[in-house]
């Protein structure tokens, strides 16, 4: 078996290749114009990839399963609900929209509250089977989604245009000012992450073993829920929801790097998502020359992978 360090170096090489290909392929005369733009996109994809991987892996550790992800549980739909709410009740000219930090803070706060509400159910995961939680998450997603549409229908058409640009972010339409907030948040979360990596390793032994080993479990769970909500909010604000990316990369990382060490798992998952996003976007944009964004394809692949995981899990437990 290959050593994990070799595997990680291989992944890093892949990332570099993907970034170079995406940055320089077929750039010709428009270098000054095209290159900075491409790099902004790459930056957005790297940040998104890391944020989603990071939040998914830690979320799965505290919920002790490998199918639930923050996105599947409807956390990124919550982002849309918050933004729509703000538009609906405060209007596009309010400070809640104009001040990007305030806006982002409000979204994060609402998502954290939602996550804590969800966790009241997750916390009793032994009483509610995982499938029920998943289904509830999906239905909540539909409910929130419909509710958003419901409010959007009632919003003044002019205001709606503004909301639309806020909600339908994509890699080709990254807002540079958010990029700085995102980088800042990511750095802060790394500093915090450095302190908790080993604790996370212990937490994967389960609540009781972790408490036995001196982890302040319930407070850690709270902190991690907040952390993963902030990260999901960051990536959703930056490029819009990519529901299944976290699910795919986290599970690939578990399978490829057989280890309990969160530092390795998170690094691996992040690298895999960057390869998937940058490499995928390169193929989509330049090789197949499709108009689709990579998110559509990831959701397609992710959906199939998800069914596969479900069937596998049901066989293992049945």
């Amino acid at each position: 078996m290959q050593k994990n360090s070799t595997k990680l170096i291989f992944l890093i090489l892949l990332v570099i290749i993907c970034v170079l290909l995406y940055g320089f392929y077929d750039i010709k005369g428009g270098f000054d114009y095209a290159f900075p733009r491409r790099m902004i996109r790459v930056a957005a994809m790297i940040i998104t990839g890391i944020a989603i991987s990071y939040s998914t892996v830690v979320f799965q550790t505290i919920t002790h399963n490998r199918i639930l992800t923050p996105s599947v549980m409807g956390l990124d739909s919550m982002y849309e609900v918050v933004q729509t709410f703000i538009y609906f009740f405060a209007g596009s000219m309010s400070v809640w929209i104009i001040n990007k930090y305030l806006n982002f803070g409000a979204a994060v706060l609402a998502m954290v509250l939602f996550a804590l509400f969800l966790y009241r159910f997750l916390f009793r995961a032994d009483k509610h089977p995982i499938y029920l939680l998943l289904l509830i998450g999906m239905i909540l997603g539909t409910l929130l989604g419909s509710f958003v549409t419901f409010l959007q229908v009632m919003i003044d058409p002019v205001e709606y245009l503004g909301l639309q640009t806020l909600l339908f972010a994509s890699f080709t339409n990254v807002k540079a000012e958010l990029l700085y907030i995102a980088i800042g948040i990511l750095l802060l979360s790394f500093i915090y992450g450095y302190r908790i990596m080993k604790k996370l390793d212990v937490m994967s032994l389960g609540r009781e073993n972790a408490i036995n080993l001196g982890i302040n479990y319930d407070r850690m769970v709270m902190n991690i829920l907040i952390l993963s909500s902030i990260l999901i909010a960051t990536s959703t604000a930056l490029v819009g929801p990519i529901t299944f990316l976290g699910l795919i990369v986290a599970n690939l990382s578990y399978q490829y790097l057989v280890t309990y060490k969160h530092s390795v798992l998170i690094l691996g998952a992040s690298l895999i998502s960057i390869v998937a996003l940058v490499g995928g976007q390169f193929l989509v944009e330049h090789i197949f020359e499709l108009r689709t964004t990579i998110s559509v394809i990831i959701n397609f692949v992710g959906g199939i992978y998800f069914i596969y995981l479900l069937i596998k899990e049901s066989r293992a437990s049945g």
Binding site: M197, K198, D201, S204, E208, N209, N212, L213, G214, Y260
Partner: protein, 256 residues
Amino acid sequence: MIEIKGLTKQFGKKPVVEDVSVTIEPGTITSFIGPNGAGKSTLLSMVSRLLEADTGEVLLDQNNVKKWKSTEFAKRVSILRQANYINVRLTVRELVSFGRYPYSKGRLNSEDNKFVDQAMEYMNLTDMQDMYLDELSGGQKQRAFIAMVIAQDTDYILLDEPLNNLDMKHSVQIMKILRKLVDDLGRTVVIVLHDINFASVYSDRIVALKNGKLVKNGATNEIINSDALRDIYDMDIPIQEQNGCRICVYFNSQTS
């Protein structure tokens, strides 16, 4: 010393543990026994702060357990619960190394590794230290978890039905190891047991619970007699002495 003072716990409206006060004598094996649903595991969980009590308190060295810093407490008291399903792939050695977390915070030094080696040797796991947990049998896995607790090097070791799913040979093996921990290393073991004969043969003290209430608390030979057992189990259980061990012959007892 661990003192349990007036602990009460309700699940919903149903009291599971009611006003239980017990003192755990250091340097002994204390067994918690009693019929199903007597509240043995719940009591143990509260002592080990896995579960918060509704009223009452648990004192470790005269200090309330809640006031202890969790890492410091983890260096004094360890607990192993019965269900230990883990969905990460770990080798035996990796699992046992987790026992050193309270001291090393995940970065093991040579002394930590010594403790890990010793614990594995104690539990006869040295040969399989690089095997993954999911390749082990139920008994081997249980031994690996107990080794983790031993590596934790605590004065108090609390075990919740550690003999579940084990065959006779391994059950005896584990009880003997616990006995050694107490006699040789001066540890204190508190253990929830289902089979009163294991309690009778291997423990120094017995705490008997019934319907959440404390019914008996004393040295083993005070509890293992037909009168006391009738109060606990509502059964007439004859006792036979064999090689100095008292064996409860409950197989064709009359229930009252």
